[in-house]
């Protein structure tokens, strides 16, 4: 090892050890769950049971839409230079959506359904990544982490889109009678046929719920991990533990970036599997 490297290592270890003897800070209050309560920022009238007032979640959705719109305009301009880095990054994501998700899973309706799958993929990706940037929407306008997909209603809306389009694709490809007949397993005794038909319907409903809850729970758990780790760093009132836990928080943040990308990918590929499965001949 070089001598400069060794001197740096000794200095860092000495600082970390010296921090163990420094007096701690003051105790402060922090509630983990308060980050996820939504209070209306601009109170608008409600139409029936639908409350139209502007929330933190609504503003985060608008921010995602704005990022996608401005990003699309910038990428449009980069199309004139097909060898640049920005174009390369976007081409990588486009190839992932086209080849990795749609072409590798769906057999028949690839060109028809690619716009929907790619839109869902990019929208959830941008929503998840915007949720990793601290924005001043916390209490008293402090910087706080929150993401639009950490809200069950947003993910339920996205999963409902996939649900409706799955059945629409199936009915368009096979007709209503043919699609429902695809749920009946032909090689089974009659009593078992009815039970399997009922189980197929139940599994369709469970797919909707599981798509929504998977994305919601991953994003919620990620933000709760952040809150807990950052709180742990200040809870013990010791600078030594704070410095160690700060490093652990950074590692958790990198893991959350990975999880954000994976969850967008999984939502898109499961949508593609469901839509492709509804269109093809089964059993």
């Amino acid at each position: 090892m070089k001598k400069g490297c060794l001197i740096w290592l000794v200095v860092v270890i000495a600082i970390v050890v010296a921090l163990g003897f420094a007096p701690g800070g003051e105790p402060q209050e922090f509630h983990v769950a308060s980050e996820f309560e939504l209070e209306p920022i601009v109170q608008l009238p409600s139409i029936g049971p639908v409350d139209l007032s502007i929330n933190k979640a609504v503003i985060y959705l608008w921010i995602s839409v704005g990022v996608i719109a401005i990003g699309s305009l910038i990428l449009n301009r980069s199309l004139k230079n097909p060898t640049g880095r920005l174009f390369g990054a976007f081409a990588g994501l486009y190839d992932l959506a086209r080849l990795g998700i749609v072409n590798s899973v769906m057999r028949k309706g690839q060109d028809t359904w690619f716009p929907y799958i790619a839109s869902v993929f990019f929208f959830i990706l941008v929503c998840n990544f915007v949720g990793l940037v601290p924005l001043p929407f916390g209490h008293h306008h402090q910087l706080a982490f929150y993401s639009a997909t950490a809200n069950l209603f947003v993910t339920l809306s996205l999963a409902s889109c996939t649900f409706v389009l799955t059945h629409y694709a199936g009915i368009r490809a096979k007709g209503v009678g043919g699609y429902v007949k695809g749920w009946i397993v032909p090689a089974a005794p009659p009593v078992l046929k009815q039970m399997l038909f009922f189980l197929e319907i139940l599994s369709e409903i469970f797919r909707l719920i599981s798509l929504a809850v998977r994305l919601f729970a991953n994003m919620l758990a990620g933000h709760v991990f952040f809150a807990v780790f950052f709180t742990l760093a200040v809870l013990f009132q010791s600078y030594l533990l704070a410095s160690v836990l700060q490093g652990a928080s950074v590692i958790m943040y990198l893991f959350e970036v990975f999880v954000a990308f994976i969850q967008a990918f999984i939502f898109a590929i499961l949508s593609a599997i469901y839509i492709g499965g509804a269109m093809q001949e089964s059993h």
């Binding site: 990795g100 590798s104 809850v213 998977r214 729970a217 999984i266 590929i269």
Partner: protein, 76 residues
């Protein structure tokens, strides 16, 4: 045992016992992916993609348990 203590106990048990199954399942999945990649290294990309789909599906089950624990703590 009063309701508060029962809630806390239930939340702890839900979050703790609920990740045993998914943890074992993920270990089996990733282990078999590593074995298959060692057998046929040219299929590593496809196998890795399928592995990530499997991880997403299994992790959802562990997070259902966490959601139940959070509902017990903060909603009920």
């Amino acid at each position: 045992m009063d309701a508060e203590a029962a809630k806390l106990l239930g939340a702890g048990l839900a979050a703790g016992l609920g990740v045993i199954g998914p943890g074992a399942g993920m270990g089996i999945l990733i282990g078999s992916t590593i074995q298959s990649t060692a057998r046929q290294p040219e299929m590593a990309g496809e196998l890795r993609t399928t592995m990530f789909i499997g991880i997403g599906l299994i992790e959802a089950l562990a997070l259902y348990a966490l959601i139940i624990a959070l509902i017990l703590l903060f909603v009920i």
